[in-house]
Amino acid sequence: MRLEPRTETGIGLRLAAPIAAVAASFLVAALLVLIGGASPFAVFAAVIKGALGSQFAFLETLTRATPLIFTGLAAAIAFRARLWNIGGEAQLYAGAILTVMLGTGALALPAPVLFPLILAASALAGALLLLGPTILKTRFGVDEVVTTLLLNFIMVLVVSMLLDGPLKDPMGLGWPQSKKVIAEAIWPKLVQGKRLHLGFLIAILAALAVWFVNARTTFGYEMRAVGFNPRAARFAGIPVNWVMAKTALLSGGLAALAGVSEVAGLKGNLTLDLSPGFGYTGIVVAMLAALHPVGVIAAAIFVAAMFVGADAMSRTVGVPNYIANVMVATALLTMVAAMLFTRFRLRRG
């Protein structure tokens, strides 16, 4: 058996990959649910109801999807350039920290000034955080996977330290949480009385912007060339290291925006449990979208639906909500394998 390159890949085949991934994740979940002694039908019904079964559920899903769009975009951009940014968690927290540093009263500025300032500063923090490992990679050949991963652990400890210290909310009864974000910096809700906030729109805009950059700009072209074959890119005169640096800045900045969005849009302050792994989940979102920026939106909503639905299901049917994590991981692996078969076919001998 060997793999032979396909001469062309129809759109049907390309869509088959994410569909196969989703199907596989449902199959594995069904198996696990059976082992757990519950009925797969009951579980899936509860999941779908919990994610999409009411206006409340649907809006909750979109709210949950918002940070995933940001971290998904961050991963997609980086992975396209073969920059393995696994540090989405750290960059998200960097953005959250900056938001709280600037937005809880330290700066008394009107909203039209404070809003973009916080956005820019937070994005910059995330960008710089990824720039470090990227330079280590381009200059010293240090694998960025491990460095970005280790930074995740370090950042969580930094957040903990800051919340015990300078960022601690004096009115917080001793809990490690920050002060609340002031009104001028809060991101307004999109729907009265629900949790969906401006972050969702900004995320969509960001996805469209990334799509435009990829398809139409010289920078997008450079990222593609460098990602596919850095040696040929260098030979052609493309400034590979500089392109990688810009990619890192963009990717880190987007992941940081997830942190801003969660703090200024949803929670209102910074706590230790701000991110239940949005950075890692963003990687799955990016792969399910085959690294396509607009696909990230769909993939993020799907994954968010899984998590929101599983939470609701777990309260009613009782199957552990970790089933969503299993489904998401299965979808990732299946997607990666399926993408191979859009490029190659199996041949005898």
Binding site: G141, V146, L150, S160, D164, P320, Y322, V326, L332, L333
Partner: protein, 313 residues
Amino acid sequence: MEAIEILFTASLWAAAIRIASPLIFATLGELICERAGVLNLGIEGIMTVGAFAGWVAVYHGADLWSGIAIAALAGAAFGLLHGFMTIPLGLSQHVTGIGVTLLATSLTYYAYRLVFPEVTSPPKIEPFAPFEIPLLSQIPFFGEALFRQTPLTYLAFISVLLVAYVLYRTPIGLAVRTVGENPATVEAQGIDVTLVRMGAVAVGSAFMAIGGAFLTMSAFNSFYFDMVNGRGWICIALVVFGSWRPGKALLGAILFAAFDAYQLRLQQLAGAYVPYQVFLMLPYVLSILALIVMSRRAGYPRALMLAYRKGER
């Protein structure tokens, strides 16, 4: 200076050896995989699986060594998954590894919640007890530091010798090393590249899982979420730091663990002045530094991370 005095206590080094043990197993495991040309980023998840599988088996009545065997098998199974995707299919080793870690970890947590739906305090088992080696354990300083450890620690040290021997003195070891340097060489000598690589990844993953099992069956006695806490990633740095050689990897693990043991004790001394989080950060920072220092490495397997498609010439 009490801070310096601590360095010379046997108890520090005994702690260091104990802390190093899971690292030794996992680093050996990753070393075997990478020598064969496969980067196994599933290490964090596989250690988690090993920690849970061995422990839960003992909780349900198995003896400790059977538990270790079960952990090893579980690790090998996930290793084979990673191997299947990266070797015959040739998929990205980075993404597959992350996927395996996510899958292994989430399956573990799901299984834990299934077995223990509502627990307020984590259930316990009877872990490996320290075994004092007669005579040797009476030696001043070294006796306490080295020879009053649990049997699993002794196994870790024996494993280093075993892996070094197999790699450098046996035909299978030569095949493993060569397949990570130039798979075409191996194929041209009539050996199946896929089998050798899959075998290496399975064996390596088994070692990783035993490293995880050490945490729940020797160092502590129950399973917590986030127990592995980044040790897998640290071991990846240790493989680089040890230049892919078992002996140097052992030294690296002990050095690192000594540092970790030291910072734990420093916390007690200086905890009033320096936030405890700074001490907890130090192992991760040290790992990054180790990677940078060893970046000009000459010893890396040439075919690491390159997929080999048979017949593609």
